[in-house]
Symmetry: C2
Subunit: 170 residues, 2 copies
């Protein structure tokens, strides 16, 4: 049995992964972000190689994960999720702070900043492992889950997401 709908039973959050593109902030949405070790604290993110953010993270050597909240303005997902940062200033209308020298989406509930320690290539995505150099829960809002995003925010799945299922969504 090989039913790709089973992948929908996996739980994720909704994140903006951000970095610098030669002094300009850029980023993309991601759902594949996880803490992989506690001591030392190491995060993993999976970013499609077709995403402009991928090469910017490789060049910068650092990335930040902003954790979106259930009530984060859907415009944040719209800004980061469905267009390329190559020709677009995705942060143009999105307020941000600088934390540990990285741009963080203000309209979020937590952030984690990492220094890339390893990049693992898979067929389509790069898995970046990063040592955590900064982290903060900025408020008490509830983190948005990917299920909440689909059920309540009624979001679409971006074509470059690892969870994109051509048979179902395309």
């Amino acid at each position: 049995m090989m039913d790709p709908k089973a992948f929908r039973a996996l739980s994720y959050g909704v994140y903006v992964v951000s970095t610098w593109d030669n002094g300009r902030p850029t980023g993309c949405t991601a759902n594949c972000a996880a803490q992989v070790t506690a001591q030392p604290a190491v995060m993993m993110i999976g970013i499609n190689r077709d995403n402009y953010t991928n090469r910017c993270i490789a060049d910068c050597g650092h990335f930040a994960v902003s954790v979106l909240a259930e009530d984060t303005d859907p415009a944040v997902i719209g800004s980061f999720g469905f267009r390329s940062g190559k020709n677009t200033d995705k942060f143009a209308d999105i307020p941000y702070d600088i934390r540990n020298a990285l741009p963080i989406v203000k309209d979020s509930c937590a952030y984690i900043v990492c220094r890339v320690t390893q990049a693992i290539d898979t067929a389509t995505h790069t898995l970046f492992l990063g040592e955590v150099i900064g982290a903060e829960m900025t408020n008490e809002r509830r983190p948005m889950t990917y299920a909440y995003y689909h059920e309540v925010v009624k979001g679409r799945t971006a074509k470059n997401a690892p969870t994109y299922i051509a048979e179902v969504d395309g």
Copy 2:
């Protein structure tokens, strides 16, 4: 700022990762499991090297991820989460099916079976990447999130989990 509570804003599911130990089924709970590519379908799991299941996956070359549901009997988590499979038959009181030649926890809502294609060592955990060879949504129960587990099932975090925070939980 380095506040480990920020890691709690990341969203995960609750899974049993299972495999064979010389013909005997064994496994452990996990929260770090994600689909990392869609074409081909590849999963990633993070398993502490101190977990007996880790060496069993390496030996067997295959693993299964059973997705626990919100109403999965907490005894499943108790059986797989807080003791070692080395000296214990964790499946003794847990009904299971065989799917794609791997043991699957019956009291779950979906399963994904993988053939290990890559094992990446980190400080404490092995990240196993696996090509998906079988997957099925077995019923319509709601997948349990890690937040639901903590808020409703009132679970503890196992010491070998990547999300274990000594300062908070220990």
